[in-house]
């Protein structure tokens, strides 16, 4: 094939290590197949800001589009326009409609493939890890960014659903911190001040985890209170080592990006691709953080 | 002396600002066709008095009667609706609007565009601006320019023009000539005379005794928040008034 394909990747937001790592993976794949990667996104995880970016990308008619849609419903119409314009679409990290594509059912089944680590599942994994760490009893809560972000909402949901299977664990109110680590810390301290038997916390994204673990530190509860972090950028490694964070659920963003580009390329070169590729998770803790097999899932710096 | 029923009667009005008794138990009567001068040294309470009458401040205590009926203005709008127009010492113009828009502020003239759509009648505003300013012999061409572009005296003329324009029963003028040139001052004096002849009531605040003696029927002198004395103008002279003002 001598045509140089242009493949666009639109993340949920640009200012996030997760997506930056995804970009690295995508770039590696693009280089491998000789495609050009366009990376464009909005600074906030919100359809209002993502859709204009999408439109501007569509205007340049890329050969394929990889996107992390910021909402399951709201991105259907805007993506339909791209699809109608003949641009093959693959969703990464998040999905539209039900996430089951090419079934002929539902409004949002037109993308070719969904490549991700399922966030609901990720939440459930976090719940299991936390439950084990606290001896399957006690109080825990979710520290979350803000309502309305599909990925983090799903992690919370997966966490809570899983915890229903652990009758001795009480899940307290979720706290929203607006990506402000300072607020997340103070919320943890307030919850702890009220519930001296608080056993653990699930930080549903980087700043939630960073803040919560600092709250644990401020409360003098390092080691006694367990912190599970979602996402694994470099700073989490330090926290794992220093015991501030007990476990990190690493998604595999580089893989997602890599497979995304590869799948798009395969499609463009006439091959069929699976409608769903799960990239899974790696649970990283103090014990395995140095192990190269897990360490490779630390997000790129 | 004019013995008609009073247009405006102020009874035992007080107004305090925290601990400052700016006005303490002051009374005043204005009859139709009468010009009452309100005099007094700086800080005597003149502006406070007329702001209480025109609805700017609620008085701390006291009564205001308009044509015999007690009134209580909760805003200057109320006072204007009852026929009291005021020229404030600090002019109170909307600096970003044209002269015409200031004259009509709060009562803008409307016309119908395309026969049905009510729109501001800017022509009428400009015309009012031209005519009213001409009353004081200002011949203004910049009818769209904001009043901030005009000189101190020109701005004072706008404030005077606005108050006169609305043909009120009672006109309150707080140092209306302070910034005016000599010919314009004369114009204002003759304007007040013509208002008087139309049976209107006028409260005229000024530090210029000549002007006061030229137009007023009575003079009420305030001193440190209280009425130091009230005289018919024919019964008094500059010296006595100054004495009342400064006390001693």
């Amino acid at each position: 094939q001598d045509k140089k394909f242009t493949i666009a990747l639109i993340p949920g937001l640009t200012t996030d290590a997760f997506y930056i790592t995804m970009r690295k993976g995508a770039e590696a794949a693009a280089k491998a197949v000789g495609a050009q990667l366009v990376f464009q996104g909005a600074p906030e995880f919100n359809p209002v800001t993502q859709v204009p970016v999408l439109d501007a990308v569509i205007a340049k008619s890329p050969d394929a589009l990889l996107i992390a849609p910021t909402d399951t419903n709201q991105l259907i119409q805007p993506l339909k326009r791209a699809s109608d314009a003949g641009i093959p679409i693959i969703t990464v990290d998040t999905f539209i409609g039900s996430g089951d594509y090419q079934t002929g059912a539902g409004d949002g089944d037109f993308p070719l493939s969904y490549i991700a680590s399922d966030n609901i599942l990720g939440g459930a994994i976090a719940a299991r890890a936390l439950a084990t760490a606290i001896g399957d009893k006690g109080k825990v809560f979710v520290s979350n960014v803000k309502p309305g972000i599909s990925t983090t909402d799903q992690r919370e949901q997966g966490f809570k659903d899983e915890m229903k299977k652990h009758p001795n664990i009480e899940v307290l109110e979720t706290q929203f911190n607006e990506n402000d680590a300072n607020k997340a810390a103070s919320q943890l301290q307030a919850v702890y001040a009220r519930n001296s038997d608080l056993a653990g916390v699930f930080g549903a994204n980087l700043f939630s985890a960073m803040g919560s673990s600092n709250g644990v530190q401020q409360a003098g509860q390092i080691g006694k209170m367990k912190v599970v972090a979602f996402d694994a950028p470099g700073s989490i490694v330090d926290s794992l080592n220093s015991g501030l964070v007990d476990m990190a659920i690493a998604q595999h963003p580089a893989e997602i990006g890599y497979y995304g580009v590869m799948s798009a390329y395969a499609h463009l070169t006439g091959n069929s691709i699976p409608t769903k590729i799960g990239t899974g998770f790696t649970v990283i803790d103090k014990k395995n953080v140095a192990d190269p097999a897990t360490a490779k899932f630390i997000y790129a710096e | 002396m004019n013995s008609a029923a009073p247009l405006l009667e102020v009874r035992n009005l007080s107004r305090y600002f925290g601990a400052v008794k700016a006005l303490d138990n002051c009374s005043l009567v204005v009859r139709p066709g009468e010009v009452v001068a309100l005099a007094g040294d700086n800080g005597a309470g003149k502006t406070t008095m007329i702001k209480a009458i025109s609805g700017v401040y609620p008085p701390t205590s006291g009564e205001i009667l308009l044509e015999g009926k007690p009134v209580s203005f909760s805003s200057p709008e109320d006072a204007r609706e009852q026929g009291i127009e005021t020229i404030y010492q600090d002019l109170a113009l909307a600096d970003n609007l044209s002269i015409g828009a200031n004259i009509y502020l709060g009562r803008e003239p409307m016309k119908k565009a395309f026969g049905f759509l009510p729109v501001l009648d800017r022509k009428a505003m400009a015309k009012a601006a031209e005519e009213t300013m001409a009353l004081l012999d200002f011949h203004v061409k910049r009818l769209e320019a904001p009043v901030s572009n005009f000189s101190g005296g020109q701005r004072q003329a706008v404030a005077i023009g606005r108050a006169v324009f609305w043909n009120a029963k009672i006109l309150i003028m707080d140092e209306p000539t302070a910034a005016l040139g000599v010919p314009e001052q004369r114009k204002v004096v003759s304007l007040i005379k013509s208002l008087k002849s139309q049976g209107k009531g006028v409260i005229f605040i000024s530090h210029n005794l000549q002007d006061i003696f030229a137009v007023s029927d009575r003079i009420v002198v305030l001193r440190r928040g209280v009425v130091a004395g009230a005289r018919n103008i024919v019964d008094t002279d500059h010296n006595e008034v100054v004495k009342l003002m400064v006390g001693g």
Partner: protein, 352 residues
């Protein structure tokens, strides 16, 4: 008018108050349009850039025009309401979440009504209900600011929280999908190449332009912004005005929310959250001062378009995302620098 037959004008030759050249110079007229001039310059830059960079066109693509227009609709609607508020010397921080609240209400209402009545009627009624729902926080804003003299920043910041919480509660913390094909058509369809969204926004713009430039309400708004004390003394009922003003801003946000639900076929509490700064910036780039007393709808449109064009254009030109932040910042500053230069040049009112 006092009947005074211009009597005493005899004695002296009237001094002309005005030794000015009355006609506005051409330059001054252009200067008033400065946000538009800047917009034009921006388009030229992007066009040249597109041609040189990849031999394409920016301005020549109707797709780009439509995309930018649709992009600008939501921030513009908020900015229109904000224009009124800012001219009056206030600010409305809550507009974004009022928009979100309206979007959620629209979604619920249209879904529920759709069960009982034909879809088009459900749509229209649902939109009305959404706008009515927006009026509630607008009224509270207005009452707080007019009756209780709460500073607008604080009153609407409080309402920011209240509207946000209510919207998320109503939405159950998620987005609320709407099923109504007419609504989806309103949000995504077009007639003669003109998206319905843009048509609705244009109608709102025209009505609001009329309201601001041709009515007493508009006139009082300017007066209050310049000198609230003077306006009050002139007999403007400031309390009533402020109440209506914040309701007006909420209505604009409410329409924005309903259109959001139409476009994305879902209501989301966070719909307007990212639009706050951009909408205020549109107003200021359009020539308004945050101290009140100046601004126009026409300017705000240009301001909103400037922002939409830069943001869209930089993506179109494939500028690196982090460099986009910098570029948008620089362009916003330049847009106002040009204003300063024009003022100096045209003799318009300058600071001393």
């Amino acid at each position: 008018m006092v009947e005074q037959a211009n009597p005493t004008s005899a004695s002296h030759v009237a001094p002309q108050a005005d030794h000015a050249d009355v006609s506005k110079t051409v330059i001054q007229k252009i200067a008033q349009l400065r946000a538009w001039v800047f917009l034009a310059a921006l388009l030229v830059v992007f066009e040249l850039w597109a041609r040189i960079d990849f031999g394409g066109t920016f301005v020549g693509s109707s797709f780009n025009w439509r995309s930018v227009a649709i992009f600008a609709v939501a921030p513009l609607l908020l900015a229109i309401g904000q224009t009124f508020v800012i001219i009056s010397g206030g600010i409305d921080l809550s507009a974004g979440f009022i928009m979100g609240l309206a979007a959620v209400v629209a979604a619920h209402a249209i879904n529920m009504l759709g069960v009982y009545m034909p879809l088009p009627i459900a749509m229209v009624l649902g939109i009305c209900i959404a706008v009515a729902a927006a009026v509630i926080p607008g009224t509270i804003n207005g009452l707080l600011i007019s009756q209780l003299k709460v500073p607008p920043f604080i009153g609407t910041l409080g309402m920011f929280g209240v509207a946000r919480g209510s919207a998320f509660l109503l939405a159950g913390g998620t987005t609320v999908p709407v099923k109504n094909s007419y609504l989806a058509e309103l949000g995504n369809g077009q007639v003669l190449g003109l998206p319905y969204l843009v048509i609705v926004a244009a109608i709102v713009v025209v009505v609001m332009h009329y309201l601001l430039s041709q009515t007493r309400f508009g006139q009082h708004n300017y007066a209050i912004g310049a000198n609230a004390q003077a306006a009050r003394r002139a007999g403007v009922d400031i309390k009533r005005h402020l109440l209506r003003l914040y309701i007006l801003s909420a209505i604009c946000a409410g329409i924005g929310g309903a259109l959001y639900a139409a476009r994305f076929t879902a209501g989301a509490a966070q719909a307007g959250e990212p639009l706050l700064l951009d909408s205020v910036a549109a107003v200021v780039i359009g020539g308004a001062s945050l101290f009140g007393g100046s601004g126009t709808i026409v300017g705000t449109i240009a301001g909103a378009l400037v922002i939409a064009v830069i943001q869209y254009g930089l993506v179109f030109m494939n500028v690196e995302p982090f460099w986009q932040f910098i570029a948008v910042g620089v362009v916003i500053i330049i847009s106002v620098l040009i204003d300063q230069a024009q003022r100096r040049f045209s003799g318009a009112k300058q600071d001393e």
